[in-house]
């Protein structure tokens, strides 16, 4: 009896070790290739395979939705996920590990940008094929990428600088509205702004300008929070930022020129998946560089001890102002994208509920870390979608989960971890 249990525990230990080595030997390139194969498999045989398993169609969100809606389909859903996603990814990643390790090593001989672009291209292909299956998936993917941007930008202020800023819905609203006004005014015939000034065909070229304008307006708005932050911080700054959020909402509600409380609609459909993907990649890249620069270190210094930072010649005022404006800029860009994905904005979208959602993403994923922001944004938005069939209970489960995360990991799941691109794409060492 004892011997057998010892044997069993040996087996579990061995299997744990083998899983760990199995996972640790596969470079990112291998995982991406596996995911690509899995997604391609789903693209070509997903629907007939799902039918064969007795499912109505290919699972729209890794089976979460169908499991909650029709519990008796759980075995087929699990089989589907196992056979379409997990097994192909595992097999391809494992079998190609040595080749991919060599390839990733070869790629590093070129400038790093080359390797990064290849990785991003593979990632985009995966996301594109996955979201090509249905409009729903496309929306989920775009909202997730926008959430990543918003979470990252709030992480600059709340995580890296350690303030408790509640103004992010205000920045989002400023960005969403200014970008929408720009595009709708110039390129769309609508009832608020009248005829378009320019032909719609050249519009997409101007879309980046619209986003940048959205970002800049949000950044200027951030001055209203940044300047009071010179004299105060902590709770008072939280209130100032909260007041700012309410002021922006109230201002837009009273601005009849942009539709007032009825909102602004008929934005052109330019925020397609590639555009959103590119913006998100750009945001991750630039924000990651920002927080790893001396500016980022200055932010951390201000967070840990403002006086000491000041004594060490950190210009605290300039640091705070830059952080607020930079964070607000990306929030504004994300807001502009959001407006063009939903193609309708109204001031009610940017209220306390949005604030709670964004804060949840930041603190769930982890403070002071780009990984954390990505994990938090993807985790909370996927969870929100996956639990949709539960209707109201969703708003009990997600908060409970967040409370548990806060109790056991008070700074979030992956806090204080540097996002090192080189480490991410380099080949994994094969242990002898």
């Amino acid at each position: 009896m004892e011997a057998s249990s010892e044997k069993l525990s040996n087996i579990t230990r061995l299997s744990k070790i083998s899983i760990r080595t199995f996972v640790s030997q596969v470079p990112l390139l291998g995982w991406l290739l596996g995911a690509l194969i899995a997604v391609a498999l789903e693209h070509f045989v997903g629907t007939p395979f799902a039918r064969a398993l007795g499912l109505p169609k290919a699972l729209s969100l890794f089976g979460f939705l169908i499991i909650l809606k029709k519990p008796f389909l759980i075995p087929s859903a699990v089989a589907y996920v196992l056979l379409i996603y997990i097994l192909p990814i595992g097999i391809v990643a494992r079998s190609s590990a040595s080749i991919m390790n060599k390839l990733a090593g070869k790629l590093l001989d070129f400038p790093m940008l080359f390797s990064v672009i290849i990785h991003l291209g593979l990632l985009y292909a995966v996301v594109h094929w996955w979201s090509d299956m249905s409009l729903y998936r496309n929306d989920v993917a775009r909202f997730m990428l926008i959430a990543v941007m918003v979470t990252l930008s709030l992480n600059i202020i709340n995580g890296y600088m350690g303030e408790f800023s509640c103004s992010h819905p205000g920045f989002l609203a400023l960005g969403a509205y200014s970008a929408s006004v720009f595009t709708v005014l110039l390129f769309v015939d609508d009832r608020i702004f009248g005829l378009a000034w320019l032909p719609k065909a050249i519009g997409p070229l101007f879309f980046p300008i619209a986003l940048i304008i959205g970002g800049l307006v949000a950044a200027v708005g951030a001055l209203a929070v940044a300047i009071p932050s010179f004299r105060t911080r902590g709770d008072y700054l939280a209130i100032i930022s909260l007041a700012f959020m309410f002021i922006v909402k109230s201002l837009i509600e009273n601005l009849e020129a942009v539709g007032g409380p009825r909102g602004l609609s008929s934005q052109p459909n330019w925020a397609s998946l590639p555009v959103v993907f590119m913006c998100a990649v750009l945001a991750v890249w630039i924000i990651n560089n920002f927080v790893r620069s001396t500016f980022g270190k200055a932010l951390n210094a201000v967070r840990d001890n403002e006086m000491a930072a000041d004594a060490m010649t950190v210009n605290t005022r300039r640091t705070k102002m830059t952080a607020f404006m930079f964070g607000a800029f990306w929030a504004g860009v994300a807001g502009g994208l959001y407006a063009h994905v939903v193609r309708y904005v109204n001031p009610g979208d940017f209220d306390i509920k949005k604030l709670a959602e964004v804060l949840a993403m930041v603190y769930f994923g982890g403070l002071n870390s780009v990984y954390g922001a990505i994990v938090g944004a993807c985790g909370i938005s996927l969870l929100g979608e996956a639990l949709r069939p539960l209707a109201l209970y969703k708003w009990v489960i997600i908060p409970l989960l967040l409370i548990l995360v806060m109790i056991y990991r008070p700074t979030g799941l992956i806090a204080f971890k540097e996002f090192d691109v080189k480490k991410l794409i380099q080949p994994k060492k094969v242990s002898p």
Binding site: N158, G162, F164, A224, I227, P228, R231, T232, R233, G234, D235, Y236, A238, I239, I240, L242, A243, F244, F246, I247, K249, S250, L251, E253, N254, N305, E306, M307, I352, A356, L359, A360, Y363, L367, L392, Y393, W395, V396, P399, L400, L402, I403, M406, I407, P410, T411
Partner: protein, 306 residues
């Protein structure tokens, strides 16, 4: 005339804000944390008041215990305050005690999340339709030279000020109040002197929640509609009042609550009412820019824990 009439309305609205702000402020003074679930505790208090009041009225109607309306009101207030204080203690136990050594923002998040759970739980239990609070006070209107005052408003304002005063006296005069003040002075060292931190914190939450419950019942009497999200806006506004008054200052929170009521009532007299929130929050922003530590708060210093 219009001015005086609005003054009464402002006093009534301000008394809700003041009662809720007191809860925020007390918790802050002890734990240096804001209880972001407090607005929703106000909502729960109103619902508990609704339950108790309907129960008592039903009892009274059945003839088991014939009670006059004023007695029902008193019992409702007392029972609901008692019951809601347990909600407050529960929130402290679940959301704040495990996080006492964690960064403050994490506790703010748990508070927010508990608030969402309370709202949704209410929605699941009672459904989305609005409930109307049973009328307990026979409305009587007095005409004082053109100003119409209802007895409800007088009662609400008087009871609110009375409760705030009682709290002030409790903190100033009793041993428990002294313990609270000591804890507010330093919650790291004072527990070493034998003051039980957990008990005091739980009591603070209980007191704050009891006041919020009173505010909830008064709100139910004044505007007899209850809905699960009523705590959100009220809670945040009272939070603003608590900050405006100065962190941890009972007098400051009360006064700032009334000030917020005045701003909200008097701004629409001059400006269109749709920009009420805009003006109110702009005033708050300006006050905080020029007086960053509120009316009665201590200036920000490096000593403050982050």
């Amino acid at each position: 005339m219009q001015l005086l009439q609005n003054l009464i309305n402002a006093l009534q609205l301000g008394s809700f804000y003041a009662l809720i702000a007191l809860g925020y402020s007390m918790v802050y003074s002890i734990l240096m944390l804001f209880n972001f679930a407090h607005g929703d505790i106000f909502m729960v208090g109103a619902y508990i008041g609704f339950g108790v009041a309907t129960g008592l009225i039903a009892l009274s109607k059945m003839g088991a215990l014939a009670m006059p309306n004023w007695l029902i009101l008193m019992l409702t207030v007392i029972f609901s305050m008692f019951l809601t204080s347990f909600v407050g203690m529960f929130v402290e136990r679940v959301g704040y005690r495990p996080l006492r050594d964690a960064p403050r923002a994490s506790a703010a998040i748990t508070g927010l999340m508990i608030g969402i759970i309370l709202e949704t739980g209410n929605l699941i239990l009672l459904g989305a339709e609005q409930l109307s609070f049973p009328s307990l006070v026979q409305t009587a209107t007095y005409n004082l030279g053109g100003i119409y005052i209802t007895n409800q408003k007088i009662m609400i304002v008087a009871l609110s000020i009375g409760l705030a005063f009682a709290l002030h006296q409790f903190i100033r005069r009793t041993k428990w109040g002294m313990a609270m003040r000591a804890m507010a002075f330093d919650y790291v060292v004072v527990p070493l002197m034998g003051v039980p931190l957990n008990k005091i914190a739980a009591m603070t939450f209980a007191l704050g929640s009891a006041l919020a419950a009173a505010a909830g019942i008064f709100y139910g009497i004044a505007y007899p509609v209850l809905d699960p999200y009523m705590g959100v806006l009220f809670g945040w506004k009272a939070f603003v009042a608590a900050i405006l008054g100065g962190r941890g200052s009972v007098v400051g929170a009360t006064l700032a609550g009334f000030l917020l009521g005045f701003i909200e009532i008097f701004v629409p007299m001059i400006f269109p009412s749709t920009i009420r929130n805009f003006i109110a929050y702009s005033i708050v922003l300006l006050i905080l820019v020029f007086r960053p530590h509120g009316f009665f708060g201590e200036p920000y210093s490096a000593r403050l824990r982050l």
